[in-house]
Every structure is written in structure tokens, then in C-alpha cells.
């Protein structure tokens, strides 16, 4: 199922993409025949929907199936709505990183030889950093910016001290995420991952049942229509069960939490660097089976 958040005529709504059209979950629920209607209408925002768990997911599944075959479902052409970030208010956005990258950018030092590289590290983005398809990425007045393409997973089931073999049970789905940071080693602002509008997420969350465990999806990053990086979700530095399990030892992972699983380009290749973004550029990330997100870059301040 492809779950998304859209806005139309100033109002936000939850939707599912069915046969290329955006099915309005709430409005369609109202039209469901009584034998198909679940007890409660679907929640109106993605985090509440995920918190409502299996019941909400099953109800949405029934609407999806009905919408395929019935003209009574309320749906729109994608061009007639604004596709927003599929989830706008997660409690946490965690970006997993490579140790060398983190060390250089946070403290301006080389990683110590005592560092255990099998342990992950990361940064957080603020929930308010998330933007959706087509939203502008601002280049700050005094800093350059760069982008990486990431596979973001969305937590569906709360968990703490999650065993690795149970990790995928806690994943609701996946979405592409363009991860923007400020650029440059020298004089690097330390909160380089958290600048305004630095996480372009979407266009939708594809539920985990449609994706292999672990995901083996081709990834393409383009700048102004030219492909500049090709990679695969096979190239993650850390495996998803390790990521989910490790994080859950320190904190409770909650429905709606976003984990960006790390930069996808291969190590050591010339194309593994993040892509510099300048005002006027358009950056696009496409992940096989998860859709494509594209955003323009504008000057800020």
C-alpha cells in the first residue's frame, strides 16, 4: 500500500495511491458500504494512523481494495492535490551515519583508532526539518549545502530492547529521503544536518509488506535531470536489524519515528560524495518501488 499525506483546498488529508490516483481515505470511508465499514473512521494524520496500529492498517487495506473496483471512492488526480511529506510530525528523525563522516563534521577531528566502527552513530533532524515533494530547499545566506539520497524507514510498532530478528516487525514501511546538510569541512557549522527544510521525504510510504526484507532496491540521484549517482539499498553501512535493535537499546522507538539508514552511494568511488546544491538546481531521488521525490533549491535570506 502506498500511504501519503496530501493537501487540497487548504486542508490536509491521508490518502493512498491506487491506480495512479490519490484516494482520500476519510472521504472514501464515509462512502463505504456498511458491510465493509470499520468501526471508526481512519485517523486524519499519518502519525495517529500508525499509532492506531494493525486495525487502522487493515481498514485502509479494505478501502484500497474497494477503491480499485468502485467508482464511489473519493479520489483525485495527483496534479490536483499537493503531495506533502507523508508524515509531518514524527517524534524523532534519526539519521544513521558513517563514523568518519560524523567525526569530521561534528568536531573537526579524525576518528580515534579506538573507535569501534561496528557501532553506528548518527544525528537527529528536527521533525520540522521535513518537507514534501516539490517544496523548496533553502540555501542559507552564508553556507553552501549538499544532498545525499537515503532510504528512510518508518517505525510502525513501538519497541524497546528489540532483538535483531524481530526488527522488521517494527517497520511500517519505507520512503525516499533527500538528506540536506551544510557543506564544507573548514568552519563547518556543527548542526549541519538540522538546517531548515533539510529532509525531503516522500512521495509516499510504501508499506513493508510490499518490500523485501532486507530491501534490495536500486537508487538514483539526479541533479537538473542528469543522473549523478547510482547505488542500491544493498550498500547500506549498517543492516536494518542492527540499526533498529541498537537504537532501541537506548530509546523507545515509537510509531511514526523516521530512521534514515545512511548514505547509499558506495564507499571510495568518486560518485560517493554528497551532491552540492545551488539556487536554481532541482534535485531528484528515485528508489525502485518507492517512487521519486524532487525538490528545487532556492536562495534564502
Amino acid at each position: 500500500m502506498k500511504l501519503l499525506t496530501f493537501s487540497r483546498e487548504g486542508k490536509l488529508g491521508l490518502g493512498i495511491l491506487v491506480a495512479g490516483r490519490v484516494v482520500d481515505l476519510s472521504a472514501s470511508h464515509a462512502r463505504l458500504p456498511s458491510d465493509l465499514k470499520p468501526h471508526a473512521p481512519p485517523p486524519s494524520d499519518m502519525r495517529s494512523f500508525l499509532e492506531a496500529g494493525d486495525e487502522a492498517m487493515a481498514a485502509a487495506g479494505r478501502i484500497e481494495e474497494w477503491a480499485r473496483n468502485s467508482e464511489d471512492a473519493v479520489s483525485y488526480e495527483p496534479e490536483d492535490v499537493k503531495i506533502e511529506a507523508p508524515i509531518r510530525n514524527p517524534r524523532k528523525v534519526i539519521c544513521i551515519g558513517r563514523l568518519e563522516e560524523m567525526a569530521c563534521l561534528s568536531c573537526g577531528i579524525e576518528p580515534s583508532p579506538l573507535c569501534d566502527l561496528s557501532l553506528l552513530t548518527g544525528f537527529s533532524k528536527f521533525p520540522e526539518c521535513l518537507i514534501g515533494y516539490g517544496d523548496p530547499i533553502p540555501r542559507p545566506r552564508d553556507w553552501g549545502i549538499e544532498a545525499e539520497g537515503e532510504l528512510a524507514l518508518v517505525i510502525g510498532r513501538q519497541g524497546r530492547h528489540i532483538a535483531q530478528e524481530m526488527a522488521f516487525d517494527h517497520v511500517a514501511g519505507y520512503a525516499p529521503m533527500i538528506d540536506v546538510s551544510t557543506r564544507g569541512h573548514e568552519g563547518h557549522p556543527f548542526l549541519h544536518k538540522c538546517l531548515d527544510a533539510s529532509g525531503a521525504l516522500g512521495p509516499y510510504i510504501v508499506t513493508a509488506d510490499e518490500i523485501d526484507n532486507p530491501p534490495t532496491l536500486n537508487v538514483t540521484m539526479s541533479l537538473n535531470g542528469d543522473v549523478c549517482q547510482r547505488s542500491s539499498t544493498r550498500d547500506l553501512d549498517f543492516e536494518i536489524p542492527h540499526i533498529v535493535s541498537s537504537l532501541s537499546h537506548f530509546m523507545t522507538l515509537l510509531p511514526g519515528d523516521i530512521i534514515a539508514c545512511g548514505m547509499l552511494a558506495g564507499r571510495g568511488s568518486s560518485s560517493s560524495s554528497p551532491i552540492e546544491l545551488r539556487p536554481g538546481d532541482s534535485v531528484t531521488l528515485e528508489i525502485e518501488g518507492l517512487g521519486k521525490i524532487s525538490n528545487p533549491v532556492v536562495a534564502d535570506g
Binding site: 561534528s106 537527529s124 521533525p127
Partner: protein, 313 residues
Amino acid sequence: MKLLTFEKGDKVRLGILVDERVVDLNASYAKLLLSPQGGEAEGIADLPSDMRAFLEAGDSAMAAARLVEEWAPHFLKYHSQDVVSHPLEEVRVRAPIQNPRKMIFIGRNYTVHARDVGLGVPQELCQACGFTKFPDTCIIGPEDPIVRPKLVKLLDWEGELAVVIGREGKYIPLESALDHVAGYMQANDLTAREFPIEQLFLQKNWAGSLPIGPYLVTADEVPDPQNLQLCLDVNDRVFQDASTGDMTFGVAHIIHYISQTITLKPGDVICTGTPGSGMSANPPVFLQPGDRVTLVIEGLGGKLSNPVVDEGS
């Protein structure tokens, strides 16, 4: 004004501390609207019971709170039926703000501590380690137990001055940076030292790793945030006794700098660094289950005191 969030029975409300009593801001304002003295009170003014919403409501909510603060001593003395208040010991004081949009931390901002972490004193703010903590995961309040995670044995404290933003801004000029401050709080940036500095994220982000409070003291009561004494003790043994004047980069500079890439919003919390920690002691001393750590910053009222327990106990 000393603002706080408190719990009494099943209600969570905003309060102000007046003469060692907690005045229920929301309930008292409602009474003020109905009383003869309430002529200045605007019925329209919104006084939310959530601290972030209160700060986001801006000047009108703050004016309503100040009206209650102005009348409270008189009512407490002469018309106690016109104000809702409780003795401090009869309420549970929570973290002053539970849900800031973001929390930003400046590392290595005092000379002593910068040397302790082995990285030297930063020459410019961009070199100071900056990091964040998740509000939902990390915030706890005064007297809440610090739960040492199973994987952590080197649990360290860091007493800090925390700034709470009151006015939104981006590209904030240095000279007007303090105008964006709603107030200040005591904060203890608990840290798991077994992870190296390269894994700062794991050092800092774990459940309950940020006690804050008890009060959010409004900025008018703290005219100079660079002139406050900061004291921290563990089981009554003093480990930190320093001045916020020892900060390498002051509050105004920090606000100005962060706002060059990040829009600061009401309720946002910025922790301004620590003058030392347990690992600076000789030999290093870390928090153990059964310990109690207490932070007092001059002028911020009360103390931020928390007992330490083991996870699973």
C-alpha cells in the same frame, strides 16, 4: 516570573511560584476574568495550559500571566477564594516544558571541559561540538529518577544553563539576540562516557537523559546570563562551582550563530555547555544507583535534584 508545569490530581497545569505557593495560572486567570479586579483582563487572551503553546501565544499570554502574578500576592492574603493555589510540597513539579520542537546543545563551551574531552578550546563556535536530544525520549523533571541504561556504566553529569526561546527568528543580529529569549532553566545533560566523542549521538540520546527545571525563569529576572553561579553536587559533594561568565561563547552569540541556518521558535531549548563533569575528577567519578545529583544555578530558583536508579530496578 518563575513559571512551571505542575500536576495536581489528574490535572497538568501551568503555574507561577508566589511566596512558596504554586499559583495555578490557568484557573486563577479564569477567576480574575470574573472578579471586580479583573477589569484589565482581556477575555480574549488565551492562556494555554501547555508551556510550549503558552510561549507560542506570545505577548498576550505572557501579559495574562503577569496580571495573575501582579494580583496573586494580594489575593493570597485577602481573597484566597479568588485565586487557585497550592503549597509547593502538595504538587508534583514536572519539567517546565515537555515538548519543545527542538533542543540544541553546545559542547566544549567552557575551557575546563573542552580540555577534559581532549579536544581543546574552540576558536569559533562552528568548531564547538553541537548536538541535539530528542524531547520525547530525553526530558524528565525535578525528582524524576535518572534511569541508568543497561548498556551504560560511565554515567556522567553536566550541569548547564538552558535558554528557552520566546520569539521566532532567523538570521538574528547579535545585538538583538537576547530579545528572543523567553527565559532560562537549569538542565543536566547526562552523558554516557563509554562511547567515544565520535559517537556523540549515543553518548547523549537515551531515555531520560535530560532533567530540566524546576522553573522557567523569565528573562527579565536574569538581566545578565553571563553572571550566574552554577553549582552541582553528588551526594552533597560539590563537583561543579563555576560562573556562566566562563562560557567561551555567550548566550547572545549562540542564538545569533544557530539562527544563521536554523529558524528558532518559541519553546526551543538551547543548552549552553558545562564547566566540568565527573570525568574531570581525579579519579573520575560517575553516577551510581543510589546517588543523588543536584544542580543549582543562581537566580533560577529551586534546585534540579534527581536520584539515580538502574534500568530494570
